[in-house]
């Protein structure tokens, strides 16, 4: 039995209202970009970037909150379903990974479409999408995996009423993990693989090309996969 379609559908049903809010944020951003005008303090391009940043921060926060609320809705109800913990966590990972990616890509597309009309020599859409995909792989996917693990982990301490301590450990451990990732990632960056180069030459000679190292990206993706597997194991062992 392939439970993935059902589990993806379940995630969608649980988060439907959040998806509508995210779509609303994108719509407001699009309307906002269409109405930008020059003023004495900022150029329209600067305002566009501010609007984009605001939408990204609000949307990103909302996605994390939505993931948390969605996972809480399940309670212990799904723990005894026939698909194992890994199937559940993979479905959640795929759904939230894709939802975050769709939001980020649409937002980036809106900003690019605006700047492409107003900034001479704006890099092509391919460069922008490369940059967004890189960010998603480096930050969003391991972030989702970490949240999934943290949620099941905290759930496994509910019975002993130590969920608060487990939550605190997961929260503080996150910063340690980021430290480790930065440390290891910076050591292996550019070491073995050719970097992904995003050319900014069209914008003028003032800016150097962006060379994104592939090693930290692969490290993040491997970490995300490991965290999802671990989250599946914890799910299978949770008492409720």
């Amino acid at each position: 039995m392939n439970a993935l379609p059902t589990l993806l559908w379940l995630e969608l049903r649980k988060s439907q209202s959040f998806v509508m809010v995210l779509a609303g944020i994108l719509l407001l951003t699009a309307v906002g970009l269409a109405r930008l005008t020059a003023n004495a303090l900022n150029t329209p391009e600067e305002e566009a970037v501010v609007l984009f940043s605001l939408a990204a921060v609000i949307g990103g926060t909302l996605l994390v909150v939505a993931l948390f609320i969605s996972a809480r809705q399940d309670g212990a109800g799904l723990l005894l379903s026939v698909p194992g913990g890994l199937a559940h966590q993979v479905a959640r990972f795929v759904y939230w990974g894709l939802l975050g990616a769709a939001f980020a890509l649409t937002l980036a597309l809106l900003l690019w479409a605006y700047l492409d009309r107003t900034v001479p020599g704006m890099p092509g859409l391919g460069s922008v999408l490369t940059f967004v995909f890189y960010g998603l792989g480096l930050v969003w996917l391991p972030g989702v995996a970490y949240l999934l693990l943290a949620f099941s982990y905290v759930q496994s301490y509910q019975l002993s009423r130590l969920g608060w301590l487990a939550g605190l450990a997961a929260f503080l451990g996150f910063f340690g993990l980021v430290d480790v990732l930065v440390e290891v990632g910076s050591k292996v960056a550019y070491a073995a693989l050719p970097p992904v180069t995003i050319s900014l030459q069209s914008l003028g000679s003032r800016l150097d090309d962006i060379r994104l190292p592939l090693e930290p990206l692969l490290l993040s993706l491997a970490l995300a996969a490991g965290l999802v597997v671990l989250a599946g194991r914890v799910w299978d062992e949770v008492e409720a």
């Binding site: 379609p5 059902t6 049903r13 649980k14 809705q73 212990a76 005894l80 379903s81 026939v82 299978d236």
Partner: protein, 225 residues
């Protein structure tokens, strides 16, 4: 033997939810689990379902670890379901997650239990309980563990539902149903297990209960007082 608990103790921190309980559940039996609130009924059902791990002793379902046998165990908890879940959503969800879910039987049960086609948030407490009951009973599982499945349903309907369900109980499956409404257990179950403070105080078959010459309610008051 379909399931077995052997000298099972379950501790929550310093408190004991269940103490040294041994039970054997044969195939085809409808067992009533009776006790006051906090007697350990839910703990016992969760141990059989594999949602809890015993602190001492062992639990076996169909010859294996309970959690590993979840494909054959239908567990109905007393927890709320998703607020957006309608009977149609229930079919989609259960059909996708449980290979033994019988859609035709589910629709029959929805009719029998008179569940309206509305999202759960628009249903009364009793209607929600009926929807959850239909979802659980539509499975072709070997062991059904129902935790207070009739809570919130009016007294007349409870009686009708319980009698119909237990009398038509399949011979290849075992039912364990917990309740603290003892009156409804009268003359229905093949066997009744009375729990008090996490201990089994009486484990009696229907014949034995009848031989005592008292109603289930009177026995309940006598053994649990």
């Amino acid at each position: 033997m379909l399931a077995r608990l052997e000298a099972v103790t379950k501790r929550y921190g310093g408190r004991e939810g269940l103490h040294d309980v041994s039970l054997e559940l044969p195939q085809g039996q409808a067992l009533g689990l009776l006790g006051l609130n906090g007697a350990g009924k839910t703990t016992l059902l969760k141990l059989l379902a594999g949602l809890l791990v015993p602190s001492q002793g062992s639990v076996e379902v169909l010859g294996g670890r309970p959690r590993a046998m979840r494909a054959h165990v239908a567990y109905l908890s007393d927890a709320e379901t998703y607020p957006w879940l309608s009977p149609a959503d229930g079919e989609r969800l259960m059909g996708g997650l449980y290979p033994d879910f019988n859609r035709a039987r589910y629709r029959e049960l929805l009719g029998f239990l008179e569940v309206p086609s509305r999202p759960s948030r628009a249903l009364s407490r009793g209607q929600k309980a009926r929807l959850r009951l239909a979802m659980a009973l539509a499975r072709e599982a070997r062991l059904f563990l129902l935790d207070e499945p009739l809570a919130g349903i009016d007294v007349i309907s409870r009686d009708r539902i319980l009698k119909t369900l237990v009398r038509q109980w399949r011979e290849d499956a075992t039912l364990v149903l917990s309740t603290h409404e003892v009156a409804e257990a009268e003359g229905i179950f093949d066997r009744a297990v009375f729990l008090k403070d996490g201990r089994v105080v009486l484990d009696a078959g229907a014949e034995e209960l009848r031989a005592r010459g008292k109603s289930v309610r009177e026995t309940f008051v006598e053994v649990l007082a």
